[in-house]
Each structure stands twice: as structure tokens, then as C-alpha cells.
């Protein structure tokens, strides 16, 4: 014989207050318990049934509203713990939008400022020298003066260094000088930063020229006979019109070259940090007693 079902109120309480996974087993347990009590001549009427149902369902109802304390699960692997931390961080960030926005903005500003400072330092200090192929083999020699500053050395001294120091494979001299240039006869001259260099200057630096050629040894020894100028790409484009054959005047402050006309024969693309012009002339009077030097070490 099939047992009597539970009273409808008991079934209603179970369905309203119990977790779904418990409902069927609670009904079965109460039916089983009720029939055992009846078999032992114990009370198991409607009130007993409602009271028993209330005790079970309210206990579970209250229990489910309590929060279990957080405990680390046993035997958590490293990657499993990491992924749990990442998920927790993501949930926390999503839950606090304003904090997340502030953190992201702070990070963005910090990263941007760092990138800007690095780019500035890289531009000023770290980037390769323009026009130098073997940068690790090139050093700039600065000679100290009695007052603690850097001074100039004579061309004979540079020649003696090249001969006496075997560690230097080759040595070239240069001197900064300002020149006034008029691209055409009669035009207003413009002041340019320039260098007077020795004939092997570009051989030491090793940089290729975009057009034409550099200086020859003979041109460096006797520049007055065959004056040669190498100009920057910017000067060539802006002041000389970018033509392949140009003629212009170089009017230097140097007494030896004042008023001379120099034929421009060779052009070179260089960086903006480069001087606009270079003139061969290690034997010119203006630098015969003083120059700086660039050496290539072996």
C-alpha cells in the first residue's frame, strides 16, 4: 500500500523555504519518519507533521543565509592560485569603477611621462651619432687646458698622435667655425655653423655620402688649390634649391679665405645635428695651430 502523502501545507513550506536540491529528499524523509512513528504507536498527526516540517525548513532557510568563511582550498596549484587572484582583481576593479578609472589614468600619465623622458634622453644622449658607421670604434679626443676646460691642439700634434699612438687606427681633426654664405652673387649672406676638417674626416667617421664624394688627402693638405665643401641635405634643399650643379660663395671670417669664391662640387645628406657645411683645410692658417680631433681606434 502506498503511504499517505504529506499534508499540502507541509509540501508548500518545503517548496517555499528549502533549497531545491533538498526538497524531494526532505519529503521522502518526513514520510519515512512519520510512518515509522505510526508503526511504533507514536503521534504523527497534522500538527506533528507541520512542526517537523517547520523545524527542517526554517533551519535550512536560516543556514543558507549565513556566509561561509573564506578558507584557502587545499592543494591549490600555483597557476590555479594565480588565476583566482586575477579573477578576484578583475571583479574588484569592476566593482569600484571610479577607483579603477583613477588607477588607469595614473598609470597612463606615468607611462607617458616616462616615455617622454626616455625619448628626450635618447634623442640627446643615446641615439647613434649621425653619419658614423662604426660608432663603437670612434672616440672624440678633448685636450685639457690649464684652466680646466677643453682646449684646441695644433695640427702637428694631431699628426704626431696618429703616428705615435698605435691604439688609434686613424685620427682626424676638426674646428668649429661660423661662415657667412650667400647662395647667389649679390644675395644677403646667411650665418651658418660649419667645420673646417682634415682630409680624412669622412674616412674616420665612415659614413657614406648621399651624393658626390668626400675629401681627398691632397685636398686636405692643400685646400687653397682645390677648395671643396660638403654641405648638409637641409642646406642643399633650402638654400641651394636642391639642384645637382650649384655654385655659391663661402665668405669666412678667416682672413686666409675672406673674399674667396668656392665651387660647390659635392653634396651630402646629414642629420640636423650636423654642421651645415664642412670645408677641407687642415693646412689653412686659421687651424694650423689649433683644432679638435676625432680618432678611430683599432
Amino acid at each position: 500500500m502506498s503511504p499517505r502523502p504529506l499534508p499540502r501545507v507541509a509540501t508548500w513550506l518545503i517548496n517555499r523555504l528549502s533549497p531545491p536540491e533538498w526538497r524531494e529528499s526532505i519529503v521522502g524523509d518526513l514520510v519515512e519518519d512519520r510512518d515509522r512513528r505510526l508503526a511504533h504507536d507514536q503521534r504523527a498527526g497534522l500538527f506533528w507533521m507541520i512542526a517537523a516540517t517547520l523545524r527542517v525548513t526554517t533551519s535550512l532557510f536560516v543556514e543558507r543565509r549565513r556566509v561561509l568563511p573564506h578558507r584557502e582550498p587545499p592543494h591549490v596549484s600555483v597557476l590555479g592560485g594565480l588565476s583566482a587572484e586575477v579573477r578576484h582583481a578583475a571583479r574588484a576593479l569592476l566593482a569600484h569603477r571610479s577607483y579603477t578609472a583613477t588607477a588607469v589614468l595614473t598609470l597612463a600619465l606615468g607611462i607617458g611621462a616616462n616615455a617622454a623622458v626616455f625619448n628626450l634622453a635618447n634623442w640627446l644622449l643615446l641615439r647613434p651619432l649621425p653619419g658614423v658607421v662604426h660608432e663603437s670604434e670612434v672616440v672624440t679626443l678633448n685636450f685639457g687646458s690649464n684652466d680646466g676646460g677643453t682646449g684646441l691642439v695644433s695640427v702637428p700634434t694631431v699628426d704626431r698622435l696618429a703616428a705615435d699612438v698605435p691604439a688609434l687606427r686613424e685620427i682626424a681633426g676638426y674646428q668649429d667655425v661660423a661662415v657667412h654664405v650667400a647662395a647667389t652673387t649679390g644675395a644677403a649672406p646667411r650665418r651658418l655653423d660649419s667645420e673646417i676638417v682634415s682630409g680624412n674626416y669622412f674616412d674616420v667617421l665612415g659614413g657614406p655620402l648621399e651624393m658626390g664624394r668626400g675629401f681627398t688627402f691632397e685636398e686636405g693638405r692643400d685646400p687653397g688649390r682645390a677648395p671643396v665643401v660638403v654641405v648638409s641635405d637641409r642646406f642643399w634643399r633650402h638654400d641651394l634649391g636642391g639642384g645637382p650643379d650649384v655654385l655659391f660663395l663661402v665668405r669666412s671670417r678667416s682672413t686666409a679665405r675672406r673674399g674667396r669664391s668656392w665651387a660647390l662640387r659635392f653634396l651630402r645628406f646629414t642629420d640636423r645635428r650636423e654642421p651645415e657645411t664642412r670645408t677641407s683645410g687642415s693646412r689653412l692658417p686659421s687651424i694650423s695651430t689649433s683644432c679638435r680631433s676625432t680618432a678611430r681606434i683599432s
Binding site: 521522502g28 524523509d29 519518519d33 526554517t58 535550512l60 561561509l68 578558507r71
Partner: protein, 110 residues
């Protein structure tokens, strides 16, 4: 008394229920667990205490459950049968060791 201890130690009632599940084997459900505890200890637990403890141990991962076949004696309803998990076995061992170490420290003074 049941426990929500943050140390992970089991409460007394939790230990009794787990031990009953182990003793009952594949026929451990709320009614049989309550009967066994009464039979072995003389304690007649309320139905609510047994259900709450089973539910809590299940949520902690110490017990796992499955539904048995429906039977006419239960009005065609299934039993929710419980088994001990490896985590529950470790938790029971830890609780027993803690008590054993405390007892090994010397006699209990009143």
C-alpha cells in the same frame, strides 16, 4: 555544536555526522545518520540540526551527494545519499590530530 571556525577545524556535530556517513557507507542519508548517532551516542538530534550540518558539509566540499532510486515506502521520493570526499577525510584527520595532541600534553585539570 557546529562550527564556522576560520581555522578549518570541524565542530563536534560535524565530526559526528561525518563519522556516521563513514559508518553507513552507501546508505548515508538524513534519517539513517540521525538514527545511527542516536544509537551510538544516545543523543537524539533534531532534524533541523542534521539537515543544516549535512548542507554545510556539502557546501564546504567535505561531503558529496547523489540521489538514490525512488521507493514506494517514501512516497516515491528519492533519498539524498552522502559520501565523504578526500577533503572531508583530511579535515576529519586534522580535527582528530588536534584533539590527540592536546590530550598528549598531559592530564586535564578541573
Amino acid at each position: 555544536m557546529s562550527s564556522f571556525s576560520k581555522t578549518g577545524l570541524l565542530g563536534e556535530l560535524e565530526q559526528l555526522v561525518i563519522l556516521a556517513v563513514v559508518r553507513l557507507g552507501r546508505d548515508a542519508y538524513a534519517v539513517s545518520i540521525r538514527d545511527l548517532i542516536e544509537l551510538r551516542t544516545g543523543l537524539r538530534l533534531s532534524r533541523g540540526s542534521v539537515y543544516v550540518t549535512l548542507d554545510r558539509l556539502d557546501r564546504k566540499g567535505y561531503l558529496t551527494s547523489r540521489f538514490g532510486d525512488p521507493t514506494p515506502e517514501r512516497g516515491g521520493k528519492s533519498k539524498r545519499l552522502f559520501e565523504l570526499t578526500a577533503t572531508g577525510r583530511r579535515a576529519l584527520g586534522s580535527a582528530e590530530q588536534a584533539v590527540s595532541r592536546m590530550r598528549a600534553a598531559g592530564p586535564v585539570r578541573s
